[in-house]
Amino acid sequence: MNSIVLWTVVILSSLGLVLAVVLYLVARRFKVEEDPRIDRVEAVMPGANCGGCGYAGCRAFAEAAVKDTTLDGHYCPVGGTPVMKQVADILGYELKEQAPMIAVVRCNGSCEARPKVNEYDGAKSCRVVSALYAGETLCQYGCVGCGDCVSACPFGAISMDAGTGLPVVDERKCTACGSCVKACPKGVIELRAKGPRGMRVYVSCISRDKGAVARKACQSACIGCGKCRKVCAAEAIRIEDNLSYIDFTKCRLCKKCVAECPTGAIHAVNFPVLKKKEAEGE
């Protein structure tokens, strides 16, 4: 009996010892020399591996950043400036400030404003729908509503609003990684400056149809009438292909265009409620 126990212990221990030596030798033989800064940079990254920076993940970003001599073109939209500051410190590079961004859904064609003219019966995927045909409504530009952006978002920041059938971005969760922008086959989602205290003004429509056509398809479409451009003092608005676009780098958030828009296609968000009421009262 004792000898069995003894033999067991001896055999297992020697086995362990031999394998440990083998492992040690293999590890030494195949050791890969890496810049230690890669690990340090990776450690300060958010670790979401979302690909928002354009690399396959946080480690790939770290490798690329370490390899390069500047931080130009390397930006982690998730961690934003604080993380990039740390990265810059580790690598000793200079950091250029970048304004925080957010994903903005540029379609307000709710079920009510944009009646359906046919019924789609296939895979629930925006990519599939937009490859197939113009869509369930008469607007061939707007949101398809199958939620490809929702499943693309690595942060769970987008959800579909059951009432409007449009995606809603949760501002606290959105990191402007751009996954949804890539996922949307219609190009409805745009990364725009988040704005001071989240205040921003944008045209919530991308229809390039002529005014009458766009209006027929959707009550809240931009009809390219140009009224917004006329009232804009900052010259931030341009009209191309029957569509108004507000340049967020020039917009001064005066909101004049919002009141002027005949279809309500221009949205202003996160402005203090009090002011909003005043505007309505006028």
Binding site: K116, V117, N118, E119, Y120, D121, G122, A123, V128, L132, Y133, E136
Partner: protein
């Protein structure tokens, strides 16, 4: 209709659904169920009823309250698991043991993996094996048939042919297995005259159902065929080397639930390979393991274990065996 449907092609669909496939398998099992009820009496009907009802209930409750998804009992897969589980149990199994088996089969082997289509192991077999290791006494209590049509053959003990064989072999002394095997006339195996679990009772009833499945193109023949062929070849080789120690092909093909396992459990879509070639590899694997367990293992049977083991190999088989592609010969 003012709004027309728009969808990608194709615009028509074959008249087949998960439900219709499961229904076909249930229809195919009907003869075996009827025969086993005839031979084992009301208690067998009770086992089947308890098994089916508990499988369906467990599936309904778990999808509804745990997964919070629309219930999937309508696809009849839970009912099918119930019938298969019951056919794998001895008629004397108490109702609560059947329920525990159903709970394990659906709750653990199926729902925890994500429900139909996601499970790795055949739920009915997983349930049966769970019961076999948890309640061995109930699971090996093979009472001889005392059926509705009266006068069941009580000429032999309550052991199944295979377990009787195992006991005698374990008892020491060389046993002439050919003599033992000859105790059981093949006629009695084919036409329901043996002790054993309900599904083993009548080979003809099972085969009739299987022919129905083949005609309806519900399953392909490759998996059962390769299991039978492997079992036959191995037992032929071994029994011709040493007919005293090893039983012959016919005995091995007709006993121990091999037909039930090969035709109805190994062919389960979810837990078998997708391609015909993969199916043959899978079938050969099952046949090999069955025969190894029967000849050299301590369990009298081996079909359940063999299927479970090969279930694990399915992802690997699917990776290795692909269908023949057009223009890439």
């Amino acid at each position: 209709m003012d709004r027309f449907i728009v969808s990608p092609s194709p615009h028509i669909h074959a008249p087949v659904s998960t439900r219709s496939l499961m229904r076909d398998v249930l229809i195919a099992l009907a003869p075996a169920v009827v025969v086993s009820c005839l031979f084992y009496g009301w208690s067998e009907l009770l086992v089947i009823a308890v098994s089916v009802v508990s499988c369906v209930l467990v599936e309904w409750a778990l999808t509804r309250y745990v997964l919070r998804r629309p219930s999937t009992v309508g696809d009849l897969s839970a009912a099918l698991t119930g019938v298969l589980l019951a056919l794998n149990l001895p008629v004397s199994t108490p109702w609560w043991v059947v329920f525990v088996g159903a709970l394990f089969a659906i709750g653990v082997a199926k729902i925890t993996f994500g429900g139909l289509g996601q499970n790795i192991f055949n739920p009915a077999i997983a349930g049966r094996v769970f019961l076999l290791v948890s309640f061995p006494s109930y699971m090996t209590d093979w009472t001889a048939p005392q059926g509705l049509i009266g006068g069941g053959p009580d000429a032999f003990s309550g052991a199944t042919p295979l377990s009787a064989l195992k006991e005698q072999l374990a008892g020491g002394a060389a046993v002439d297995v050919s003599a033992l095997a000859s105790q059981y006339s093949y006629r009695s195996v084919l036409f329901a005259n043996l002790g054993g679990s309900a599904g083993e009772v009548c080979a003809v009833a099972l085969l009739v159902g299987f022919v129905y499945l083949l005609c309806r193109k519900v399953v392909k023949i490759w998996i059962p065929l390769s299991i039978f062929a492997t079992v036959a070849v191995i037992s032929l080789v071994f029994s011709s080397i040493d007919p005293v120690r090893f039983t012959g092909p016919l005995f091995n093909l007709l006993t121990g639930g091999l037909i039930l396992g090969a035709c109805y459990m190994a062919t389960d879509y979810v837990t078998s390979p997708m391609t015909s070639l993969g199916g043959i590899v899978y079938g050969v694997g099952i046949g090999l393991i069955v025969m190894m367990i029967r000849y050299f293992g301590s369990y009298p049977e081996g079909v359940s274990f063999a299927i479970l083991v090969m279930n694990m190999a399915v992802p690997l088989i699917d990776r290795g065996f692909h269908s023949r592609k057009f223009g890439r010969a």
